[in-house]
C-alpha cells in the first residue's frame, strides 16, 4: 500500500491538538497579522500516528539488521541513551538559564570532555561543533588562528585523494586552497611526496587515520614530525576513531586537531541524517584558540565560559561557531554510552570492530577483489573493488542486490582511489551469526555478478521501491508539493 502525502490527506481545518482558549486581548502584532492561507495541512492524532508509523516501515535501519556502510559506522544505539537524554533535568533546560540552575548539565559536558581528552591523549577539547564537518571547520579555524597569531598567513591545505568530501569542502569553506596528496600503491599516504610538497605556504595536512581504505597510516608519527618541522599543523579526520579507541591515542601520533563523531564512535543515533556532534580535541599548541563557549571547573562549581564571562580567560579564542553550547542531547547519550562501556569496554570496542572487519575481509577475498588485501590486516572496515565482475556488472548491482537479501548496501564508489569501491564496515555490535549471514549473502551476489546473472541488474525487487530515477529528479527538480491543479496550470 502506498502512503499518500500529508498534503493529499490532510486539511487546513483539521488539527490533532487542543489548546486552552486564548484570553481576549487587543493584538499588538504591529499590523502584520498573517491573513493569507498558509497551506499547512493537519491530521488528527490517530491519522498522524498512522502516517508516520507506516512511513517508518519503508525504511531500513540498524534495528532491522546489519548496516555495513563503510566509514558511517552504523552500530547499535542503546535505548538507555535515549532514556537518559529525555530526563527532564537534561531535556527541559534552556541554554541561557542561569548557571546556578544548570550545574548538572555543565558537569555532563565537563565529564564527557575529560573522557575525550583522556581517550585521545590530547590537551583539550572544543565541545560545540554540531557534526563532523563542523568539527573539521573548528580544527581548521583553530589552525588558521594559531598561524595568524604568529603572523603566518599560509594558504594551502594538503588532503589525500582518499579523504572524505567534507575535508576539501571544509578547507575551501574557510578560505584555503586545497591540494591533493598522492597515495602509495598499498593505499597509504605517500610520505616522500608529502615531504616534498611541504613548505611555507602549507597551513595544514588533513589526514584520516585509520584511512578510508581501512588501513592504519603507519607513518603517522613521521608525517606529523615532518609537518611540524615545516611549521604546519596536522588535522586528523576522526571519523574512524572507533577503530582505535582505547588502543591508540592520536595525541601520541602528533595530531594537532581531530574531530570525534559522537554518532560514530559513541553511538548516538544517526536519525536518518542527523543530528551529529563533532567535538574537536586539540593539542596544546592549538588549545588557546578554541572557540567559545566551554566549561571550566572552578572549585566545586562548573562555569560556562562565554562572551559574558570570557574577558580575561581566553583572549585568543577564534570566536563562536554556533549559538549556545553544542549538541547537549548528544553529549548525554555519548557519556551514557561511554560509562556503560568503561575504559575496558571501549578498548574491546576497537578490538571487536577490527576483528569483525578482518573476518569479513578474509571470508570474502576469494570471491571479491581486495585491492589492499595484501597490505596486511585492515582496521575497522574491509575494502573491495569491482575487479573481476562480469562485463557490464557494477558495484551498484551488488549494492542493490544486497537490499533483496535483507541488508543495507555497503558504501559504494568511495574511496575514490579504488575503482568501483565497496567499503564494508560491520562495527563491533554485530554478532558472528549476523556476520556469517552477511558474508553468505555477499558471496552469493559476487558469484552471480561474476557469472553474469542479468536479473541482478534490476535489483532490488523486494524493496518498497525499485531503482529510482535520480536523473529525472535532478533535471527537473520537484522539491515541494504543489496542489495538482496549480501544478498543471503551471505547465
Amino acid at each position: 500500500l502506498e502512503e499518500a502525502l500529508i498534503f493529499e490527506i490532510g486539511s487546513t481545518e483539521t488539527t490533532g491538538v487542543d489548546f486552552a482558549e486564548a484570553p481576549k486581548v487587543a493584538s499588538r502584532l504591529g499590523n502584520l497579522a498573517r491573513t493569507d492561507g498558509i497551506g499547512l495541512p493537519g491530521l488528527s492524532e490517530q491519522e498522524t500516528v498512522r502516517h508516520y508509523t507506516r512511513l517508518s516501515r519503508q525504511n531500513y535501519a540498524i534495528d532491522l539488521g546489519l548496516f555495513p556502510l563503510g566509514s558511517c559506522t552504523m552500530k547499535h544505539n542503546p535505548r538507555l541513551n535515549e532514556k537518559v537524554a529525555r530526563m527532564p533535568g537534561f531535556a527541559d533546560l534552556h541554554p541561557l538559564a542561569p548557571q546556578s540552575t544548570v550545574q548538572g548539565a555543565l558537569a555532563v559536558i565537563h565529564e564527557l570532555a575529560a573522557w575525550l581528552v583522556t581517550l585521545t591523549g590530547m590537551h583539550s577539547v572544543a565541545m560545540s561543533p554540531k557534526a563532523g564537518a563542523h568539527g573539521e571547520l573548528c580544527g581548521l579555524l583553530a589552525i588558521r588562528a594559531a598561524l595568524e597569531s604568529r603572523g603566518d598567513a599560509r594558504s594551502v591545505i594538503l588532503v589525500p585523494e582518499s579523504a572524505h568530501g567534507t575535508n576539501p569542502a571544509t578547507a575551501a569553506f574557510c578560505g584555503y586552497k586545497v591540494e591533493d596528496i598522492p597515495a602509495t600503491p598499498d593505499g597509504r599516504v605517500d610520505l616522500e611526496a608529502l615531504k616534498a610538497r611541504l613548505g611555507p605556504d602549507v597551513a595544514a595536512v588533513m589526514i584520516t587515520n585509520p584511512n578510508t581504505c581501512g588501513l592504519f597510516e603507519r607513518d603517522m608519527k613521521t608525517i606529523s614530525d615532518a609537518v611540524h618541522a615545516a611549521g604546519a599543523f596536522v588535522y586528523c579526520d576522526g571519523a574512524n576513531f572507533n577503530a582505535i579507541v582505547g588502543r591508540v591515542r592520536p595525541g601520541d601520533l602528533g595530531v594537532d586537531a581531530m574531530h570525534i563523531n559522537l554518532h560514530k564512535t559513541f553511538s548516538t543515533p544517526h536519525g536518518g541524517g542527523g543530528p551529529g556532534s563533532g567535538p574537536v580535541v586539540l593539542s596544546e599548541a592549538l588549545a588557546p584558540f578554541a572557540p567559545l563557549p566551554f566549561v571550566e571547573k572552578q572549585g566545586d562549581k562548573f562555569v560556562l565560559i562565554e562572551e559574558e564571562t570570557a574577558e580575561d580567560h581566553h583572549v585568543q579564542t577564534f570566536g563562536r561557531m554556533v549559538a549556545f553550547h553544542g549538541q547537549m542531547g548528544m553529549f548525554t547519550r555519548a557519556l551514557t554510552y561511554i560509562l556503560s562501556h568503561g575504559a575496558d569496554g571501549l578498548r574491546q570496542v576497537a578490538t571487536d570492530a577490527v576483528l569483525n572487519a578482518n573476518y569479513i575481509l578474509r571470508s570474502l577475498d576469494d570471491v571479491l577483489d581486495a585491492p589492499f588485501g595484501g597490505s596486511g590486516p585492515c582496521m575497522h572496515e574491509a575494502l573491495f573493488s569491482d575487479k573481476g565482475l562480469a562485463e557490464g556488472f557494477t558495484t551498484l548491482d551488488i549494492a542493490k542486490g544486497l537490499i533483496d537479501e535483507g541488508f543495507h548496501p555497503m558504501t559504494m564508489y568511495f574511496p575514490l582511489v579504488v575503482h568501483g569501491a565497496m567499503l564494508v564496515e560491520p562495527t563491533e555490535t554485530e554478532s558472528k551469526a549476523a556476520l556469517d549471514q552477511f558474508i553468505l549473502a555477499l558471496r552469493s551476489l559476487a558469484e552471480r555478478a561474476k557469472a553474469g546473472d542479468e536479473a541482478l541488474k534490476s535489483a532490488p525487487y523486494f524493496a518498497p521501491r525499485r531503482r529510482l530515477d535520480e536523473t529525472l529528479a535532478a533535471r527537473k527538480p520537484v522539491l515541494t508539493w504543489t496542489e495538482p491543479e496549480l501544478a498543471e496550470a503551471a505547465e
Partner: protein, 452 residues
Amino acid sequence: MRYLPLTDTDRQDMLTVIGASSVDDLFVDVPAEARLPGKIAGLPEHASELAVERHMAALARKNLSAGEAPFFLGAGAYRHHVPASVDHLIQRGEFLTAYTPYQPEIAQGTLQVLFEFQTQVARLLGCDVANASMYDGSTACWEAIGMARRITKRGKAILSSGLHPHYVSVANTMAKFTGDALLHQAPTLDAATDIDALIAGIDKDTSCVVVQYPDILGRIADLTPLADAAHAAGALLVAVVTEPVALGAIKAPGHMGADIVVGEGQSIGVGLQFGGPYLGLFGCKQKYVRQMPGRLCGETVDAAGKRGFVLTLSTREQHIRREKATSNICTNSGLCALAFSIHMTLLGERGLRELAALNHALAVQAADRLAQVPGVTLLNDSFFNEFTLILSKDAREVVRNLADNGVLGGVSLGRLFPDAPEIGNGLVVAVTETVTAEDIEAFAKALEEELA
C-alpha cells in the same frame, strides 16, 4: 559489556579464519610505541545499566528544569509543549536508527518525510523552496550570508542590530577567514527597529541585509521597504526567524520580499535540550535553488513507474563536489526535521494559528502585568510572544537573584551583549502556552521584591 555480542569462542574462531594468532596481530600497523598495552589508566571500567542510569539521573537532578519553575526564557530558544506522540514516533527504530537516505529504495520513509518537511517549511517561511535542514539557526544564518556572496559576487553584509548576538558572533568568526565585511552594532533600547538605518546603509557593495523577525528584543517590523531597498541596490534580503510559531500569527518574510529566509526550528517539535541539537531552517526563492547549501529531497519515479523520492541536486554537495561544494555540511538535523514535521502535521494550519494566538494573548497579559511592577518599563510597541522590559537596575543581577528564588525570569541583555553596558538594564521575556496565570503572578511578585 552488554553491547558487544562476540563471545570468546567466537573471537577465537574468527581469528582462525583470519589466520591471526591474537587480536593484537591485527594492530601490527600501529607503531609499537603508540600501542597501548591495556586499558587506559585512571578511567572507570564498564558499569551496569542500573549504575549508569543512577549516575546520570543524579546529574540531571542537579539542574532546575524549566518545568519546575515559573519560566520566561527565550532569546532564540523557546519552550513549547510537544505532544507525546511526536516523541513516540521519532523513537521508532526505523526512523531513529536509519542512515542518511542515500539508498532511496529502502529509505522512502525518511525521504517522504523530508519532502513533506521541505514543503511545510517553504510554506511557513513564505519561500518557494526549502532544504532538508541545517545544524541550527545560527549556522543557517551564516550559510545564507555566504550564499548571498556567491549570488551577488559582493562581500559586504549588513547585519541588523536586532539580530541574535550569537548569530552575529558566528558570522564574525567565519567572516574573519572568508574576508566578508560585516557591519553590525548592538541594539538600542528603543521601541522602533533599525530598519531605516539598514536601508540607509545599503550600497552597491552590499551582498545582503540580514534582519531578524521578530528581532532579539521582540520587535516586529514590516520588511517590505527593506526588501525593496535591497533589491534596488542589487542586494538580497536575508530574514532570520528564531521563533517559527510567530509565523502562525504574522506575515511570512518571504511574502515581504525576503530572498532567503533562515530560521531556528527548535520551537516546533524539538524542545530546549540545553541548546542542541536544534534545527536550521533554510528557504529561498526558486531561482536561487542551485546556490543553496545542504541536502534537498526531490520527487521522481522508480523503475516500475511509482512515485518516489530521492536526495537530489547533490552536485552542490561536498561528497560530490568536494572543495567546490556550496557548503561543507554533511550530517544535518534529520531527526529534528522529522520531529518538526510531525508536530507541524499534528498542529496543521488551524492548530498553528491557535497556538500562535494563545502565545500572543498570554504575552500581552504578561507584558501588561509586568509593566505594572514599579521600576519596570515595557520597551515594545509590537511583539509576538517575547518582549523587552527595561528595569531600574542591571538585569544580569536580577536574573540571578530571581533564579535563587526559583523563578526563571528571562534573559538579560547583559548576558547577550556584554560589550554594550548601556543596555544592561534590559530583560528579554518570552511567554508561551506553557506559562500559566500563576506563573505570571509569581514572576511579577518576585520582580517587585527584587526591584524594591
